[in-house]
């Protein structure tokens, strides 16, 4: 009796502190601060930065990266990497372009087929990694080069152009849905919602966290660790392929050299957004904000007239600052207890 009375007395202040702890401990705070800082700097430098049009440009720039980064985030939470997403992206875009233009295949056949191929490329990364027990950082470094070579070989190194517009290209990425916002941003939103649901609201998401957090423990409790990793490799491949489709749709052409910076940019978006390089922690929202931050830097630098080389330097600085913020906030959260 007295025991429960005591608990009730203690409860209210604890709840209040909880809210603070939760707000400060949220993984996305670091990236949110970085994003606000980036927007602040560019708004001061160029008054046109804080407009709907610019935001549309940013979303368009962020969409392809963002779509691929969702898959990469899942995989990183499960404790693995995929450096081949950029090559997979190029192969998928090029294959779709070839099938629909040179061979005249129907998009209804080509899209599922190429998407299945991209998924298989991801799955194969998983099979090689788990089968050989070589770190995925190395196995996918190999497949990254392999598939890039394939993309170059099947195109002879030349981009594939589509003459005129087509409904397929419009729907994949070309169509503007609101001022400067393209339909690729809508695809990104839909994919983000689905994968967010999968990560935080399903047993599969729970297993993904457990697989990256402590595989032995997960296995001891009956989580099929190998299958979870394989599935995440396959999903990363599928989303990389889909990102290639949106790029193809948006540009109306596809070059076999595109997407070579994508793997590291996707990892950067995830890490800026609070995903752990060690696995076991991360959020989809964080990655979305990470991708928007990176695209803001790109668009902002163009608008202030900085030469494009500055993008990489600025991005590098932001990555380091965001990760420091994430780590510091994480420590603060533990102290508050």
């Amino acid at each position: 009796m007295t025991k429960s009375a005591e608990i009730k007395q203690v409860a209210p202040p604890a709840r209040k502190r909880d809210l603070w702890r939760r707000a400060l401990g949220a993984r996305e705070v670091g990236v949110l601060i970085a994003l606000v800082a980036v927007i602040g700097v560019f708004s001061v430098l160029n008054r046109n930065f804080l407009t709907v049009d610019t935001f549309g440009d940013i979303l368009t720039q962020a969409a392809e990266l963002g779509i691929a980064a969702v898959g990469v985030t899942f995989l990183m939470i499960a404790g693995e990497f995929d450096l081949s997403v950029g090559s997979n992206f190029a192969v998928a875009g090029v294959m779709l372009a070839l099938l629909t233009t040179r061979l005249g295949w129907s998009p209804f056949l080509s899209i599922p087929l190429v998407l299945a191929a991209a998924t298989s490329v991801g799955f194969l990364n998983g099979v090689i990694t788990l089968g050989t027990r070589i770190p995925s950082f190395i196995t996918t470094l190999g497949t990254m080069m392999f598939w890039r070579g394939i993309a170059l070989a099947i195109t002879g190194g030349w981009p594939i152009y589509v003459l005129g517009s087509s409904r397929m290209l419009d729907l994949l990425g070309g169509m503007a849905i609101y001022q400067t916002v393209r339909i690729s941003a809508l695809w990104w939103l839909i994919i983000t919602l689905i994968f967010w649901l999968l990560l935080v609201r399903t047993p599969y998401g729970n297993w993904t966290f457990a697989t990256g957090g402590k595989p032995e423990a997960a296995r001891a409790l009956g989580v099929p660790v190998g299958r979870v990793k394989l599935t995440n490799f396959a999903l990363a491949g599928m989303l990389a392929g889909f990102a290639g489709f949106t790029q193809f749709g948006r540009m109306g052409s596809m070059s076999p050299v595109w997407g070579d910076g994508l793997p590291l940019e996707a990892i950067a978006a995830a890490v800026i957004g609070g995903t752990s390089l060690m696995g076991g922690a991360g959020t989809i929202l964080g990655t979305v904000l990470g991708a928007i931050t990176m695209a803001s830097i790109r668009v902002g630098l163009i608008m202030v007239g900085a030469p494009s080389y500055w993008y990489t330097a600025f991005l590098g600085a932001v990555i380091v600052v965001a990760v420091i913020l994430n780590v510091r906030l994480g420590e603060m959260m533990t102290w508050r207890r």
Binding site: A14, L197, T202, A210, K214, A217, A218
Partner: protein, 251 residues
């Protein structure tokens, strides 16, 4: 007259290469009993437990569960009968919430079409209920990450998990070896509560002082042989300490 033992092992021997890890060891545990399995490092405690949980087969000897002869070919077989082992590392994942750890691998779901969705509210409520039932008073919410819990409270998650998922026998491997005195006291409380709710517990330790307060019986192993098997009423702490120190003269 004696009740049917929950788990009984007769004449267990096990040799690894030239090392005789166990020699004709008899061991049993009754329903709702806490047995302390003590002995120095290398006495054979872990080997015995690994045989009882299906990790290794014995070279000789028989195992009976509730009076029936059983052959474990893997830890899964033992677990299917309700024998759960909690190792020192506890199988907890730091960055995940308490409730998600509690239900990992056995999540509660509601179906939305084909999509199984976690029923977080039900998982959190159940976890909080089980943990508070074990005697954790400091728990605020099962939504918090495991890393905010103390070592003793983490043990409670593992113990509570066993209790909730219907195990009959809980084997704890050195549950107090890394804990402070206060935390150790807490864990002993959880173990007694688990017993009160019908569980049998084998408590493995090299520290007799940790297990003596809660054990109904103490089994002492030394160099692969059982040198003592004493009900607490029959032996003082001193008797058992002497037995461990001077080898089994059966008090």
């Amino acid at each position: 007259m004696a009740p049917i033992a929950l788990l009984e092992a007769r004449g267990i021997s096990k040799t690894f290469g030239k090392v005789r890890a166990l020699h004709r060891v008899d061991f049993h545990i009754n329903p709702q009993e806490i047995v302390g399995l003590v002995g120095d490092n290398g006495a054979g405690k872990s080997t015995l437990i690994k045989i009882l949980t299906g990790v290794y087969p014995p070279d000789e000897g028989e195992i009976y569960f509730q009076g029936h002869r059983v052959h474990f070919s893997s830890p899964k077989d033992a677990r299917a009968l309700g024998i759960e082992t909690v190792y020192q590392d506890l199988a907890l994942i730091e960055q995940m919430s308490i409730a998600r750890n509690f239900f990992l691998g056995s999540e509660i779901v509601r179906r939305l079409g084909i999509l199984p969705l976690l029923d977080s509210r039900a998982m959190e409520a159940t976890t909080e209920e089980v943990l508070r039932g074990l005697g954790i008073t400091s728990l605020r919410s099962a939504d918090e990450e495991v890393r905010v819990l103390s070592g003793g409270e983490r043990q409670a998650i593992a113990i509570g998990r066993t209790l909730h998922f219907g195990a009959k026998l809980l084997i704890l491997d050195e549950p107090t070896s890394a804990l402070s005195i206060v935390e150790t006291q807490k864990v002993l409380g959880y173990i007694q509560e688990a017993k009160r709710r019908g569980l049998s517990v084998i408590f493995i330790t090299h520290n007799l002082y940790h297990v003596y307060p809660v054990a109904d019986r103490i089994v002492v192993l030394e160099h692969g042989k059982k040198v003592g098997d004493l009900r607490k009423e029959e032996a003082s702490l001193e008797d058992i300490v002497n037995m461990i120190a001077y080898g089994g003269t059966q008090a």
